[in-house]
Symmetry: D2
Subunit: 353 residues, 4 copies
């Protein structure tokens, strides 16, 4: 593989899994980053990537990585930034090791997502939470840093909640999700378990959904993050969809608001312009569909190359204030592409200089 | 076809459609009823049933009906009771004509479901609403009667709500449904519309779900039905499931109650014994599953020959009081079998003597 | 569990897997047999069945087995007959051990299926192959016996081939199968691998399909089985179907035959009457569908409680002589129910006295 | 819509259907062609396209066509070339009217596909059949012309057959197809008909598959097309796949050939270089997969933007000579993109000057 000396070298940890493959696919022709190392479990380490990895995605494995040797997931690596697609249990220690060794870690795992000094970050939502990295530096005394991205369903819910919280205040949210099978990774669910079926449980998911939006929508105060005070009730279901989570939300606002005013607010929210200039950022972070039967995961998950959240069916709720539906591409915006956008923000803000 | 002179003769209106076929299948060896007439639209009338009808269900068309001639859906017919599987728009007038001509109509359509003098009936829930037939007789001055069965999703929701309302009082319900494709009849949804997809709209469904449980759980007072005062917020989704609706419920009770107490109440509710003796009644009207990932439509829809509602995942709700999941077989308990049970109740209570 | 002293005690080896569960389900109220022992791998042995087994089938686990302790798969066991649903690699030795210990083994595995002295048996097709048990006794010098059932796809193909071979002679068969996911057991294929997809490979399957019909249709001669001389070319595909294999066949007959004559032969073949009296035997071993778009797995797999093969689309072939389509329920007739019918035949023929 | 005066204006007939929408999507930024007219049935004519058409494809309707008025499908139109996505029955006359009025018609319908003076064309396979346009001109005496593209399944089969016919001669082909639901258009098959199912019939398909490869592989002789003499036996099945037909082929060659020689021939066939320069042509017209479980429709249908045929599983056949599997994207190479490539060839060869 020819190395371009102008690009920032990156590694992918957990490179053979489904999210790891997405990272590799997304980085194939990235203008800023270049894959210079791949790491996997002890079962994969030492093999060529093409021998260690069964490629799950449409299209062929990028030729540039096929013959790269899979490394064990330990520093040092000839890179500056590390994308972590590791399972949460092993990510906990490994991500710390990389931060201690001076690397910037953009993690897709939940291992450090709830640490008080680690940003759980979506650039359009809470770029100011990067200030937590100061706190992280002072707490941990390490030369590197860890930045995390949220759970995929959180990501779909938090875009409309961001607008509602900022403009009207959000007091309560009841959300019911219908989540795609790819969220469980590969092999994930057996065909015989989910075909012609709904499974009304995704282990551990509901707790994440009841916490993460509060962190993402928290306010920075004196270098610390104060969680948003809203209360969230979540119910997660697995449905027979390959990619794309659908979320039904009922929301109680802090102040009485006309539904049309809410709709205009959602349509016209001024998403930050500097984020839109990042290579992986969509032109429209959130698309408000007008058709009464949208958004739908098959039709809307790929909007903005899988980076746009699509919402619709905004209408009053007879119990709380309003109801709406949101769709997010769980393995793109909700996983690999989301972490990549975080890395791009770090680069743009000078953290990789 | 050999006619058994001891059985009550019945007709099926809308006999060629999906619910009509279910009626015929269920009536094949019924101990009390016997199909003596089939009626269809002008396109079918005059043909043999086997020529007018494309049989959608597993197994073959019952031999006894294959050569019956399809009649136009008008009285008179050589029967005592009429099952209506007609579309709501044509059902409105036709069901009235049959009642005026002296027939008992057990309807699966929504045409008269909300009339104040027409029972919307589930025998285990509100058999006492049959008293509305007195009001109906006095209002309408017809020798027959109309009894309706509720929407399929209502049916799945109302069983647990019945127990909660009776024992603790129900103030608010937020429900999100994931409904099977068979609910749209045949041909219903194109494969290309629903495969790998969720459609967050079922036209007209949410209004039904916000009204019908209040009627079913209403109290009889002086021969009239007083709707239950609970407020319901409903969001309906279509998912890629053939049969079996799944419903996520969040419920606010009238009085503070411990979750274990609620669970015991749901498990031990004394469903009426006399109903269990009806031929189509299940031994367990409602099954409380203990596994944390149940109920699931593929595994639970057929419980009790499709007549038992299965619930599970009972747990507190941080906003309202409790959350749970319910599964109902939409074309059996939620449609044809439900109406058949209503007819059996009418027979048992002497309305067909 | 109450033991009925008039029934023959049987064990199920591999009781926690998908085929093992089917055996247990089928044996629940069997008139001749009664489950008295369950065996599983070392991971399951010692546990109660309900703790060792995740029940995959519709309906609940039969109460009678829930608290039985899972045994290791070694003799002795307090039974007379053993159903083997073991994987082929472990079945090879274990089935021999049971035969040496005096048990009758009805195996669903392929381990001994191709031994020259072991019947590969379908009662309606080749009950006379039970004579191989004499050869087996003399070869092996063991007090028990092993009888096997064929591959599920073989089973679907061999019913029409039986008629054609007997009446017209079969020279060549080209078959292409579209096989259900349940054929791969549980967990079997990941949803993400097979949804919206066809996989044109089932490892090892094609060799089985090119050999087994020749064994099943072989002639007994002097106590030995002479394989039928037909040549078979097989192509196996996995499709997104839960249960029910579909097989397209092109057949060259030994003598020129009119297609209508073939059809009459297939419709009127005199399947052996004594077999129809076995408890698990269907009234119609093979159903010839007249509709031009049948058989279909969803509509026809459950015919005869999953024991009837359905064929259709009989028509000439411009290259060989004729073409047709066959559907078989792969986990019933093609697996557990097939082995059970074999056991019933053994009982009826006095092998279990 | 801004009209680019350097591009060739084209119309789409049948613009609201599934293939029509694909044409519009493909033409959105085409370097040579530009949509200047849309035509539909009398139900659509007169409406704006966005009002007449329910957009089925991923992504939004191209803005340039949304406000175009749908015209009746009759000449004249302000265009030079017409893409026909009409149903065969109405295409028969309308395509003739356009040819008589001087237009070049690139048809995706079967109406004139079998006329002896109309090319059934795939540029990489039989570009020399354009010489039939001379015959067409002399026969019909019209100033325009009609060129057709083959059936989608034919397209998948004929690429490997082209190589085999040219290098070794093909005598016999037995093919069994597993075809995607999108081949039936929209709404096409009901979900309830095809989910968990295989339908072993596609009306009229088998006759097309037994004829069309013979036309495509025919030799031009004295300005006339002589059909290839091979015999084909086809069996068509519908499977639960959205896009992408899978075809199992067994082939008898004219001369004995080693399987490795065949494989090399398939891998190294020199597809015409001039065709590869057309805007919609893929770099690799046919991809030979080495993995033993490929091609698969979900993984391979989109190769080369849906224009590359993927084949694999090449192996000997014990009855004919060899077996292989082919996958084609039925609505791209097998429909709209295929016709578009034909139009590009016409332009490149000067027919649109």
């Amino acid at each position: 593989m020819e190395i371009n000396h102008n690009k920032i070298k990156v590694a992918v940890l957990g490179a053979t899994g489904m999210v790891g493959q997405r990272f590799i696919q997304l980085l194939e022709n990235h203008p800023w980053f270049e894959v210079a190392a791949l790491a996997g479990s002890s079962r994969s380490a030492g093999k060529k990537y093409k021998d260690a990895c069964r490629w799950y995605l449409e299209g062929d494995m990028p030729a540039a990585v096929a013959d790269m040797q899979v490394l064990p997931a330990v520093p040092p690596m000839p890179v500056q930034l590390v994308f972590s697609a590791l399972p949460a249990d092993v990510a906990a220690d490994i991500e710390v090791e990389f931060a201690q060794a001076g690397y910037t870690v953009c993690s897709n795992s939940s291992a450090h997502r709830y640490d008080e000094d680690v940003p759980i970050l979506i650039p359009e939502i809470n770029a100011d939470h990067l200030d937590l990295l100061e706190l992280q530096k002072s707490h941990r005394d390490w030369p590197g840093r860890i930045v995390t991205s949220p759970n995929c369903t959180t990501t779909g819910a938090v875009f409309p909640l961001k607008v509602l919280e900022e403009l009207f205040g959000v007091e309560k949210v009841i959300l019911v999700s219908m989540q795609a099978v790819s969220g469980a990774g590969y092999p994930g669910l057996p065909y015989l378990s989910i075909i012609d079926n709904v499974i009304p449980l995704i282990g551990g998911e509901e707790k994440k959904l009841e916490l993460e939006p509060r962190l993402l929508l928290g306010k920075m105060n004196g270098g610390q993050r104060i969680s948003a005070p809203m209360i969230i009730s979540a119910q997660s279901n697995r449905v027979a969809v390959s990619d794309g989570h659908t979320i039904c939300l009922s929301v109680k606002l802090a102040k009485p608001t006309d539904i049309d005013e809410v709709k205009e607010a959602l349509k016209n929210y001024p998403w930050p312009e500097d984020i839109k200039e990042l290579p992986s950022a969509p032109v429209q972070p959130m698309i408000v569909r007008e058709e009464e039967d949208r958004p739908q995961p098959r039709l809307d998950r790929s909007a903005g190359d899988g980076m746009s959240i699509s919402i619709g069916r905004l209408r009053p709720c007879p119990i709380l204030d309003l109801r709406l539906v949101s769709v997010v591409h769980n393995t793109l915006r909700g996983a690999a592409s989301g972490s990549l956008l975080n890395a791009e923000l770090l680069k743009a803000r000078g953290y990789l200089d």
